[in-house]
């Protein structure tokens, strides 16, 4: 146990340093490529020079301050008060982000769970029927979905949903936002939520399920050809038993590792899906930050994603260590 805790502590420390360096790197990159000054200069009527400078100084975004000085001021705020700075308009980045994480979680949870369940089951199903028609159909479809750009997939799904709505003469699917019903009837709230979440969930499920499907298929096929499965068969297990009791268990280890990363991904949201379905989550916020020269907002989103990625990596290590007796903590 002591060694285990030491291992975790060492990992955590390394990850903390990584997040720090990566976030600082992002800060300098963002400062180099974004110009909050242009936000004010392009306003009509153009504000006076003094008021532009004053607003920029107030939000610690003025490019006339040396970038190192802006960095230390920002870092001081982050480390002492956990204050991630201000947007060019003077709003608090902390408040904007915390209000958006909820929407991302709402959107991603269902899609992530569904994609894992569907993807892994399809992978197991097709691996057992390698080169039969079921395998060819499902794996063929999956490899097509794998390469289609997310934008194209989402747009086509929206397009057909609207066609269905029109031919049904009523709104079955909503293509924007997460809710529109305003009332107290819990059942209607639930139905309204389902109507909104259905399409984005379909998109998210398809794009991540194909990944799980194809990789689980490969992992299981690799294990099915391993010697220990042949031994199990030789000892009298049926093919099904040998796969279920031996090959399947081993093949789920690498899948568990990717599940760990997906869990972390729930909090960071999905940029394209959120943008297309107008869901005000973190992904959309990031794009808005980029378009509005919101340096502090963009850096904060990047840092949050970094933390989530590393939590995912830590979870992945733990999952692998818990499931795989061959892995030693070192």
């Amino acid at each position: 146990m002591g060694r285990f805790l030491w291992y975790i502590a060492k990992r955590l420390l390394n990850y903390l340093v990584m997040v720090f360096v990566a976030t600082s790197f992002t800060f300098f990159l963002a400062s180099a490529f974004m110009s909050p000054r242009s936000n004010f200069e392009s306003r009509t009527p153009r504000p006076t020079q003094e008021s532009i400078e004053a607003s920029l100084y107030r939000t610690n975004l003025n490019d006339k301050t040396p970038v190192w000085e802006r960095y230390t001021t920002w870092l001081h705020g982050v480390l002492t008060e956990f204050d991630w700075g201000m947007t060019p308009n003077g709003d608090s980045v902390n408040r904007e982000i915390s209000s958006r994480i909820g929407a991302s979680v709402e959107l991603m949870t269902l899609g992530t769970v569904l994609s894992i369940v569907i993807g892994v089951s399809l992978g197991v199903y097709t691996a057992q029927r390698q080169y039969q028609w079921q395998d060819r159909v499902f794996s063929g479809v999956a490899s097509v979905f794998m390469v289609i750009p997310t934008v194209v997939l989402a747009i086509l799904i929206v397009f057909f949903a609207i066609e269905i709505n029109q031919s049904a003469g009523t709104r079955i699917f909503y293509v924007t936002g997460l809710s529109s019903y305003e009332g107290d009837n819990l059942w209607l709230v639930f139905v309204d939520f389902l109507q909104h979440i259905f399409l984005p969930t379909v998109v998210l499920t398809i794009i991540s399920a194909v990944g799980y499907h194809l990789s689980q298929r490969t992992y299981l096929l690799d294990e099915m050809h391993a010697d220990y499965v042949r031994t199990a068969r030789a000892k009298g297990l049926t093919r099904k038993q040998a796969i279920r009791k031996h090959a399947l268990r081993a093949s789920l280890i690498p899948t568990a590792v990717s599940v760990a990363f997906s869990i972390a991904g729930i909090f960071t949201g999905a940029v394209m899906t959120e943008k297309i379905f107008a869901i005000h989550g973190l992904g959309e916020y990031f794009i808005n930050c980029i378009n509005n020269n919101n340096i502090h907002g963009a850096v904060a989103v990047a840092a949050f994603s970094g933390v989530c990625t590393l939590v995912g990596a830590l979870l992945a290590d733990l999952f692998a260590a818990a499931l795989d007796p061959r892995i030693k903590m070192s």
Binding site: M18, V21, Y131, V144, P149, V158
Partner: protein
């Protein structure tokens, strides 16, 4: 995997059984040898791969589609009477017809001209991106593996650190500066700047076993400079993986271009690209569906054709695959469709969900 030096490899399995003679390849080779020295025709390694590639119908279909796409992208502007920059104000939002083959969008721009131009952009961006990232990743990945010790530790730490923040976010910061007709260069630069990282990690893993090879040690003790060993001995022996991943990298590049241009960060007016067309069309989805359907179809066909080529190449390089010919005395081993490197690229492509 072709771990031997390609030039010295005797293609042992160029045994095509076109006629159903019922003989194994070994028997036929013996027969051929008995018929007289020199009658066994040896082909080069590239020739062997080409032959195996052409043996797969799906790969050939992908290749033909890609060639047709390239021809359309190159010669399309000459057969179309409209230019993608000049709107036709007499025909706003018209569906596909004899004059405007793909119809026009709300601004009167001829969609065929736009799609042809966008297709060219996508191809150029995808191919350049794939080549650049492959070269960078190959050099960095093998160098980190080759130098071992402290440089390897530092290098891996830096790669891990760069992976911490999703590259989609970092690239978005850079490419937003892209504008005007030169914006696509900026887009390629931005995509390449962070596109090679995950790929370098997989290549380093592959190079770990290569660096232990005797010929690498021999070269080292003969005093061959490190850079030369990396370029002449390590990288060529990753050749098959590099080629496959270059092809799959094109898909990743095209996907990224579409995503960034759709978000309004990549290619912007007056230039046009397939992603830009999609973002324009998505606002008028009901009144003019062809503006989204046609670029979508082009993108799907383009990506699927690249995928078919990638799969075909993977099977051509894999001595256990069916593309190695119908061999009676050799059973095809497990399906290795999802090679490690391929997955890295696919993950990079789908990270922008």
């Amino acid at each position: 995997m072709a771990n031997n030096d390609p030039k010295t490899t005797v293609p042992e399995d160029d045994k095509v059984t076109t006629e159903q003679s019922g003989l194994t390849n070994a028997q036929r080779e013996l027969e051929a040898d008995a018929a007289g020295a020199g009658t066994v025709k040896r082909i080069s390694y590239a020739g062997l791969i080409w032959r195996r590639f052409m043996r797969q119908p799906s790969a050939v279909v992908g290749m033909v589609i890609l060639l047709v796409m390239i021809l359309i992208a190159v010669f399309g502007p000459y057969i179309c009477e409209f230019d993608y920059t000049e709107p036709d104000f007499t025909a706003l939002n018209v569906p596909p017809n004899a004059r405007h083959w793909f119809g026009t969008d709300g601004g009167g721009f001829d969609l065929f001209a736009c799609v042809v131009h966008g297709l060219g952009r996508s191809l150029v961006i995808g191919i350049t991106y794939a080549l650049l990232t492959t070269v960078i990743a190959a050099v960095v990945g093998t160098a980190i593996a080759y130098f071992r010790g402290v440089p390897e530790k530092i290098g891996m730490w830096i790669l891990d650190m760069l992976m911490v923040i999703p590259s989609f976010l970092l690239v978005a910061m850079i490419v937003r500066a892209a504008s005007g007709t030169q914006g696509w260069w900026m887009l390629i630069l931005g995509l390449t700047a962070f596109g090679w990282i995950g790929y370098a990690r997989t290549l380093r893993t592959m190079a770990l076993s290569l660096r232990e090879r005797d010929y690498v040690k021999a070269a080292k003790y003969m005093g061959v400079p490190s850079l030369k060993i990396i370029v002449k001995h390590l990288i060529p022996n990753l050749g098959s993986i590099l080629i496959i991943d270059t092809v799959l990298g094109v898909i990743a590049g095209i996907n990224s271009e579409t995503a960034y241009s759709f978000l309004g960060l990549g290619i912007k007016a007056p230039d046009t690209s397939l992603g830009y067309l999609l973002s324009q069309g998505s606002s008028a989805m009901l009144s003019s569906p062809w503006v989204i359907l046609i670029p979508s179809a082009v993108l799907i066909v383009l990506c699927v054709s690249m995928q078919l080529i990638g799969d075909g190449l993977r099977d051509a390089f894999d001595p256990f695959s069916r593309a190695a010919g119908k061999v009676n005395d050799e059973q095809s081993k497990g399906d290795k469709k999802q090679s490690k490197g391929g997955k890295a690229k696919a993950a990079a492509a789908s990270s922008a969900n």
